[in-house]
Symmetry: C2
Subunit: 385 residues, 2 copies
């Protein structure tokens, strides 16, 4: 069987395998990034018009595109509805952007660490990935300048607000500096914002694309983290030089995004009901975040360092005594605990041992301490071998 050469780059997803193992009900899973089941809002379908069953436009539903453009403008993103493309979850933005930009060997600039599924999507298309180290307030600017001077990336892919996995929220100063650098070097920005609305501690986070003066950009988001991921409704907003190509690539990929989910998303976006739901969601997750912080202090205080996430769904731990955390998985699962090793979030996993990504939205608070106690014991065992 002769497959395309990209299939040799198609990696097995460690996340898939961990999540499969974490399905057993007795497993306490810190591995996934699923919204908490009790916080999935009850939705109503009774008023959906029958016309939503017919084929739709590749661009997406006009009213939904208007609503998304209005929300983006309120954040400072200069755009109108004609720049909005509804996608089948924001994962599809990564696929479309890969098709638009990446040939084998095309350079792409990423944060280190970065979102695993983005890294895999870009590598599938043959990207030569270059990374910039992440600090607590955003990328190391000197390193970013150096990368831009020495490379010609087709785009920079950044997740500036509560990144998965590091939970970093870029400071306003770093946002400004990153925009200026991308403008200076004329590098397109893909700004991925799935977690923007999951904020626990308020703070400024103006989108970087709103500060660009020259560079082209794609801004992408989703309703998956705040409404219902099962709808598979996301969006991208793109500058006018990119949009027509992205639209044709979307049409070739799946004609258009399902209209049922688009209609449901439209019922919520911008509504009073949605604002109320988001407020509930934030306070629910804030409580879980705080409980996780307390349990981490109890069990991991001597083992690891971390920042308290101000939004998103994850703690990102750095072990004081690094080891390849992938080697801990079997022992943890034997103790009925699942977690996500940090190595796969880096371009060069072997050179970046000693991080763990721990989700705080899934494990019930009463099992939290026990789960983290077991995980800490697994780490201590491994470090004493």
């Amino acid at each position: 069987m002769a497959f395309s050469e990209r299939i040799a780059r198609l990696k097995s997803s460690l996340i898939r395998e961990i999540l499969a193992a974490a399905q057993r009900p007795e497993v306490m899973s810190f591995a996934g990034g699923l919204p908490a089941e009790p916080m999935l809002p009850k939705v109503d379908w009774a008023d959906m018009p029958a016309s939503m069953g017919q084929y739709g436009m590749s661009e997406g539903e006009p009213a939904l595109r208007e609503a998304i453009a209005a929300e983006a403008r309120a954040l400072g993103v200069p755009c109108d509805a004609s720049q909005v493309l509804i996608v089948s979850g924001s994962q599809q933005t990564l696929d479309l952007a890969s098709k638009l930009f990446i040939d084998p060997g095309t350079e792409v600039l990423l944060e280190a660490p970065t979102y695993l599924a983005a890294l895999q999507a870009f590598q599938l298309f043959g990207a030569d990935c270059i990374s910039v180290p992440q600090e607590a307030d955003g990328p190391e600017l000197a390193a970013l300048r150096q990368r831009l001077e020495n490379h010609k990336p087709a785009f920079a892919y950044l997740i500036p607000t509560f990144q998965n996995p590091s939970a970093t929220r870029y400071s306003e100063a770093k946002r400004e500096a990153v925009a200026a650098l991308l403008d200076e070097f004329g590098v397109t920005l893909i700004e991925d914002e799935p977690y923007r609305e999951l904020v626990f501690d308020e703070g400024q986070a103006t989108p970087i694309v709103s500060r660009l003066k020259q560079a082209s950009w794609i801004y992408t988001g989703t309703v998956s983290k705040t409404l219902l991921p099962g709808l598979r409704v996301g969006y991208l907003i793109a500058t006018k030089d990119l949009y027509p190509h992205l639209l044709r690539l979307k049409q070739s990929a799946d004609l258009h995004t399902n209209r049922i989910g688009q209609w449901q998303a439209l019922q919520w976006l911008g509504s009073e009901q949605y604002r109320g739901h988001l407020a509930e969601l934030r306070s629910f997750y804030r409580i879980r975040r705080d409980a996780m912080q307390a349990a981490l202090l109890e069990h991991f205080g001597d083992l690891a360092e971390w920042e308290i996430p101000q939004g998103g769904l994850f703690f990102w731990l750095t072990l004081k005594q690094p080891l390849d955390t992938r080697t801990l998985l079997d022992a943890a699962l034997a103790q009925n605990v699942a977690f996500m090793p940090g190595e796969p979030f880096f371009i060069d996993p072997d050179a970046n041992p000693g991080h763990l990504r721990l989700n705080f939205s899934h494990v019930a608070p009463e099992r939290l301490s026990e789960g983290l106690r077991r995980l800490a014991a697994v780490i201590r065992d491994a470090q004493n071998l």
Copy 2:
């Protein structure tokens, strides 16, 4: 702006432009392939479990995969649910298969004519397309053998049952012969079956994949033509050597297909209600097909030749005096009539003038004769110039 080299192959879709022009309410459109609005079934959402809002499996909903495997087995396709992948409309099968097989220059074998969006998807990935002429009962077998002797296609893409655009249904003898040839040369088959259930004149049509003994295969279908296209729910069934790669490509493309639409599809597949709906659909479309045939005889009897379609949504006309039908579009639209030129359905459009694809599901019967009269007049005018 440096795009990937595939963007140079990203064609503007003539269909998109024609459909946009055909939106004007005064236009009688024979151009599209939309299900008739009155035949979209009324669906109920009240019983959908809240869990359908959560993230799901990349493979698709287990119960839906079981139902699809059972239907396929009833057609003679040897498979089980583990070989079923739910996709975001069967267009996505073309995207996933392109990623699995096509590098720039990879040879791919197609019917002439073939489905336009498949041709575009394969060409986007750089396929070198080779075609086999279609006869009334399927491909020319001598030509097929000759192509297989002289080329090494990664796969053959065939639509053996009521093809879009030609409406051809392969005979059982040709299905058998095609399977034997693909086995002999070890060429993978992609069998695309969106129209199988839209049958007006009964006849045997056992899937070709069920006859293969050696070759790998992908069998793909959708609920778009018989239930609701707006759900964007399709499926593929693949041999076990292909499935794991397709699954990972699916995950990278959009994580999973929307669960709302999957749940709705499951309510219908295999049900008594669905059987009743399909029977109504067939008799509704049969009446429209017969009305179209009568109107064509009246206005096109001296202009063109055609076979009466035994299923599907289209008549495929061959002008007795060929001309490039793309040149007729503006004149037709000026008369408020839209149709689909035949040239884009061929690898080499300029070498294949003189076909029209006419949809019979959309224009109301009372306007049919007037629409075809105007279209015939446009053709006559052009031929007399």
